[in-house]
Structure formats: C-alpha cells, structure tokens
Symmetry: C2
Subunit: 140 residues, 2 copies
DNA sequence: GAAAATCCTCAGTAAATTAATAGGCATTAA
DNA sequence: TTAATGCCTATTAATTTACTGAGGATTTTC
C-alpha cells in the first residue's frame, strides 16, 4: 500500500525541473544536492522518465535535463505510472470476485483522480511558499 | 502501491464470516477450500484479526470463527489496517515538503474514504449475486 | 587538444518483505 | 477416546527495494 522511493524521488526530480522550466537544463547533481539524495540513484530513476518521453537530456558539460512539456501538461500520475507501474491497489483486479473487484476499482479510481488531476505546475507552485522552519524569525 | 495477499485474503476470510453471520462458527478449512487458499497461511492472517478483536474463535471440534460484531459495523478499513498497517501512500508524510505532503494526504484521504465506507455487509451482499462462469448455462 | 562536467549503462548486493511451508501442541464436541 | 478444530514458533525461497561500484560516451570550455 505504499509508493516507494522510486515514485517519490522521481516526483522530486520532476518538481525541481518544473521550477526551472524555461531556464535551460538542470543537472542531476544539483537536484541530488538540493534534496540530499544519491545522484547515482537518481540517474537510475530518470532513465525510465527519459525513455517514456517525460524529460529530455542534454549531454556534456553544463548539460542536464529539461521537461519535454510545460509543467501544467505533466501530471503526478504520468510520473508515478512510469516509475511504479500501473496505478492499482492489487494485481489482476479482473480475477477477483465481484464484491472485491468493485472495491479495488473504487480505490483505484480514487487514487487516479488525485494523481491525474495534480500537475507539476501545482506541485512546483506549492513548493514555492515554503513553511517557516522551526525557530525561524523574520529579520528586517 | 499494492495491497498484499495479507489484506486481500484477510478480506476474503471476513466476507465469508459475514455471509455466515448468525449461523455459528465457520472453520478456516471451509474458507480455505472454498477459496482455494492455504489453510495454514490463513491461520497466520486471522491471528492478528483475533488479537484486534474483529473475530472471536471457538476452539475444539466443530469450532471455527465468528465475527465479533454485525457485518454492517465492520469496515474494509478495519480489516486492512490490521493486516497492512496504517493506510498511507508513503511512510512519514509529515517529513515531506508541503507540495508532496498535500498530495499524499489527498491520496490517503481518498483511499480511507472508500475503505471506511465499505462494510462487510456491502461486500457480502454483492458476493451473493455471483456472475455466471464462462460456459455457464441456465438449466431449467 | 586536454580537461572537466555531465549523461549513460550494466552489474552487484544487503536488507526487508512476501507468501508461504513444516511441525507440532491445546482444546473441545461427539 | 478420537477426530476436528484452533494455536504457536520456526524456517525458507523468491522477490523487491534502495542503493553502490565501475567505467564509458558526449559535449563545453580553456
């Protein structure tokens, strides 16, 4: 019943790229450092995102990645499906008996509804208005 | 992003007990055979359900299990929480940054909404009207 | 042309989880 | 007394997760 680090870190990558959309490529090193994640692990997560056409890579020095489309056209569902597989609470819904099948379908549709209606634009803009840290003071 | 066999078989057990509610105890052997599952595996799943107070056991010959409450008072959420742990799409939602935290919370609430509003009565009654098997003919 | 910064690929691995199986003891109805 | 059940602890094969390691390919800048 969990989304693994694949989907979670994958979303983190995509949100970072959305924040920098239109400003040229962002390197994985930058994203890894900003989020305290293993750059090498992120490389393995972005490969399927590139294969799926969600990001484009620019190789060589000062290269990196950019979104293939504008942030309002890419959803959390697009990202999660690539990294976690089809959105479904169980394998083989169709094999279940009617009562349980309907339950799994209702859960699946509820999750889909959230993921497919949340865009990278939504996620990136909410990331902007950071909550103050504990102990934060407003210095004039 | 999956509910494992623990939660799925656990629900299967509870639906069978709901169907027999008021008719005395049902043995795991009966449930295992009816659903082509390992009786021994089901024993391990019903132990936490008993510890959580969702079912009561009757030991000895012609014993078995009964629901602790009426089917309309026990939800799929009760069963899933016992066997799969808290309903949440990620561990430590509160540690995530605001944008992702809100996403996980919306997903969590959507799943909760379905699971907590589906009772064993709902599931047992929908199991009654079986779909015809493939090759089924209506013999008069 | 050399060096540095990046992407790209394949392989390995420790820990955890899943989905059981094995073997037996305890209790109770008939 | 026996058969039918529940109860309990341990073991295990397969899979998944979350990485780490090693190095090659490409491109920019000096």
């Amino acid at each position: 019943m969990k989304i693994s680090t694949k989907g979670r870190y994958g979303l983190t990558i995509m949100i970072e790229l959305a924040k920098k959309h239109g400003e040229g490529p962002t390197s994985l090193k930058t994203i890894a450092q900003a989020n305290e994640l293993s750059e090498h692990y992120l490389e393995q997560l972005i490969a399927p995102l590139r294969n799926a056409g969600l990001v484009r890579s620019i190789r060589g020095a000062y290269g990196g990645y950019i979104l293939s489309d504008i942030p309002s056209k890419i959803t959390a569902g697009d990202v999660i499906r690539v990294l976690e597989g089809p959105i479904t609470p169980v394998e083989g819904i169709e094999d279940e008996e009617p009562a349980k099948r309907e339950l799994w379908i209702r859960i699946r549709d509820a999750i889909k509804d959230v993921l497919d209606n949340t865009t990278l634009e939504d996620l990136a803009s909410h990331s902007e208005d950071q909550e103050p840290e504990e102990g934060y003071m407003f210095y004039i």
